[in-house]
């Protein structure tokens, strides 16, 4: 994957670049808004990671300018911790946001989810992962032909996992998408919900679809 990183803090930039390169991605980085905008407009990137606070042109301005220039690359904003309102602004202009300091696994999970997001999502009516099937219109879930009863919130959780099948989703991402909690509760409520969901969709079937990725999050995928 080709990633553009616009970040003025040298240490953070090096940390992100090294990490992404270790995962086999190609990273171009720019230390200021002007260079970043120039690169974004010229090269075809899969994902842009943009710091909100930059010298000169700020992150929001860069992305607005890039969008105006016809660049549709998905954008992940990096914001400093505690910036409650940054989220709203960030999501208006960009596609996702991440609060600093962040775990690298969180960043990886988010850019993976962003990069593979279809540009114009064709609206599927049925989601499938291996023998697990979700009927979005009838709001029914079946595995190997057997119907599974889910609570509304469990349905939402499974839908999010299925739409991102094969990708790691972090605790924070699940909290944001499923419960709309944009803060970190102390209790691991995600874990308890995942284990309930797992008992419904995996228990009694030959293969486990819902995996726990230690230190990162959760992953739903067809067994290989």
């Amino acid at each position: 994957m080709k990633v553009l990183l616009i970040e003025d803090d040298v240490k953070t930039a090096a940390y992100v670049k090294r990490g992404l390169e270790e995962h086999g991605h190609v990273v171009d980085s720019a230390g200021n808004g002007r260079d970043g905008l120039f690169l974004a407009a010229g090269e075809g990137y899969d994902v842009m990671i943009v710091d909100r606070m930059l010298p000169g042109l700020d992150g929001l301005g860069i992305v607005k300018a890039a969008r105006a220039a016809g660049v549709t690359t998905p954008v992940l904003f990096l914001t400093t911790m505690g910036g409650i309102d940054d989220r709203v602004e960030g999501l208006e202009v960009g596609d996702d946001y991440l609060v600093k300091p962040f775990a690298f696994a969180e960043l990886m999970a988010r850019i993976n989810a962003l990069a593979r997001r279809p540009a114009i999502a064709q609206v599927p009516t049925v989601l499938r992962v291996a023998d697990l099937e979700m009927d979005l219109i009838g709001r029914k879930v079946r595995r190997a032909g057997r119907e599974i009863e889910l609570q509304p919130r469990e349905f939402r959780l499974l839908e999010y996992l299925m739409r991102n099948a094969g990708r790691v989703l972090t605790r924070t991402m699940l909290l944001e998408h499923v419960w709309e909690f944009h803060f970190e509760p102390r209790t691991n409520i995600v874990e308890t919900h995942i284990s309930r969901l797992r008992s419904k969709i995996d228990r009694g079937f030959d293969a486990e679809l819902l995996e726990t990725v230690r230190g990162s999050g959760y992953l739903l995928r067809a067994p290989t």
Partner: protein, 469 residues
């Protein structure tokens, strides 16, 4: 000026020096008003004076004209001798009018007025001038109507203006003192008024100065009269209370931050020190580093909680308030926590009314109830029942998070909202001591009221939301 009232501040009653009094806005206004009022009185007086005077003069001239007509008729009918006789008789009787009759040579034939031979018509003169008597005290203004009669005779009918003069004197005698009284009353009233205002203003200034000098406990005295100054003083006092509260808060928070962050920081340092040792094996090193990262996470979490509270307290999110379905918020929280609560051996019950709406920020309201539920989850023994309630009230909405745990002692209930405050028995439970501070900040942002009550046994947290605007 500063030193002058500093001196008077030492005494209880305060004499306000006159120059200061004169400079006050209220005095200036009063003086301006008094002068304006006096000018009006003067104008009115002058108008009355002139109209009275002209009316008097008109009356006078009519009388003279009527007498002149009478005498002319007599002259025309009966000749000069008859006229002389009549005039002599009238002069003897000594009415109000004076006369002269003169022959063509200008010699006075009858009457007591000096002959005016050079002019005709209305003539006014000072009697002193005409008679050569120079005692100005007795000189009178005289108004005379002079007519030429057939045969070169002249007739003059006149009257002194004594009456008009008397009227003028009376008028001035009233107007001048009246003007004086108006000015004295106006300016004196202004002085009194400004002295009263100044006393009140000084009271405020003195208090402000004491506060500037460092005595933050000083408050402006109130007279209890309920006037503007009293209201102003009350408002200023509330403002001062708030400022002092905030300062106190800040001082406490910075102390607490310093105190509370020392522990994780020193643990972090210990971990790093241990990692420095060469003889550690790879798994040992990994364990130590994991410990250090965990400590750093605690620090970061504390900081972001503090920043979050600060941001909430700054009130910037109020502009983004909209109608929030509180019923849905509580249900989502209950649903999110049900598995965790059940797995911990506790029970979660809900009594949530449908469609209860408040003005607010959905994200923060979720966090508010998440924090309360987590508190109940962490600080209660197994077997506790946690209840989430929401009802519609005439004055808004009433939300409640109750548990059947050990509760909070009454004397500690107010303190738990303080940053980093932790009950003695909770010291060992993990937590930053910021959960309830965040709750308090969110409640305050939503203009709601929070109360900690005894659930007998356990704790009942009651939050009253105002009705939607």
């Amino acid at each position: 000026m500063r030193s002058s009232w500093k001196r008077c501040a030492a005494r209880d009653t305060c004499f306000v020096p006159l120059p200061r009094l004169v400079r006050t806005a209220s005095f200036r206004l009063a003086a301006l008003y008094a002068i304006g009022f006096a000018a009006c009185v003067l104008l009115l007086g002058a108008a009355a004076f002139w109209s009275t005077r002209s009316a008097l003069e008109k009356q006078l001239t009519r009388r003279i004209e009527a007498e002149m007509m009478l005498l002319e008729q007599e002259f025309r009918a009966s000749g000069i001798d008859r006229l002389i006789a009549t005039v002599q008789q009238r002069t003897r009787v000594r009415g109000n009018l004076d006369y002269f009759v003169a022959d063509p040579a200008g010699k006075r034939l009858a009457g007591d007025l000096p002959v005016i031979s050079d002019r005709l018509g209305w003539v006014a003169y000072d009697s002193g001038e005409a008679t050569g008597e120079k005692q100005s005290g007795e000189s009178e203004r005289i108004l005379v109507l002079v007519k030429q009669l057939d045969g070169g005779f002249r007739l003059g009918v006149g009257e002194d203006l004594e009456q008009v003069g008397e009227m003028e004197d009376t008028f001035l005698g009233i107007l001048v003192p009246a003007l004086g009284i108006v000015l004295v009353l106006g300016i004196g009233g202004g002085l009194l008024l400004s002295a009263a205002f100044l006393r009140r203003v000084d009271m405020i200034t003195r208090t402000a100065d004491a506060i500037i000098d460092g005595d933050l406990s000083r408050r402006i005295e109130r007279t209890g009269s309920g006037d503007d100054f009293d209201h102003l003083s009350a408002t200023l006092n509330v403002m001062l209370d708030r400022i002092v509260g905030l300062m106190e808060n800040l001082r406490q928070v910075s102390n607490d931050i310093a105190h509370d962050l020392r522990t994780p920081l020193s643990r972090l340092r210990q971990d790093l020190e241990e990692a420095q040792k060469r003889e550690l094996t790879a798994p040992e090193l990994k364990r130590v580093i994991e410990g250090a990262v965990a400590e750093a996470d605690v620090l970061l979490e504390t900081f972001s909680a503090l920043l979050r509270i600060a941001q909430i307290e700054a009130g910037i999110r109020r502009s983004a308030f909209r109608a929030v379905d509180l019923s849905d918020v509580l249900r989502t929280v209950a649903e999110a926590y049900l598995p965790a609560v059940e797995e911990s051996g506790r029970a979660l019950r809900t009594e949530i009314a449908d469609g209860v709406q408040v003005d607010g920020d959905r994200g923060l309201l979720s966090q508010l109830f998440v924090n309360l539920v987590e508190n109940a989850l962490r600080h209660t023994p197994d077997g506790t029942t946690i209840t989430l309630r929401l009802s519609r009230q005439p004055a808004g909405a009433l939300a409640e998070v109750a548990d059947t745990g050990t509760g909070i002692p009454a004397d500690e209930r107010a303190k738990v909202f303080r940053r980093f405050y932790r009950l003695e028995r909770s010291r060992t439970t993990p937590g930053s001591g910021l959960g309830l501070s965040t709750v308090a900040a969110i409640v305050e942002l939503h203009h709601a009221a929070i109360e900690l009550l005894d659930n007998a046994p356990g704790l009942r947290v009651v939050i009253r939301f105002p009705a939607r605007a």
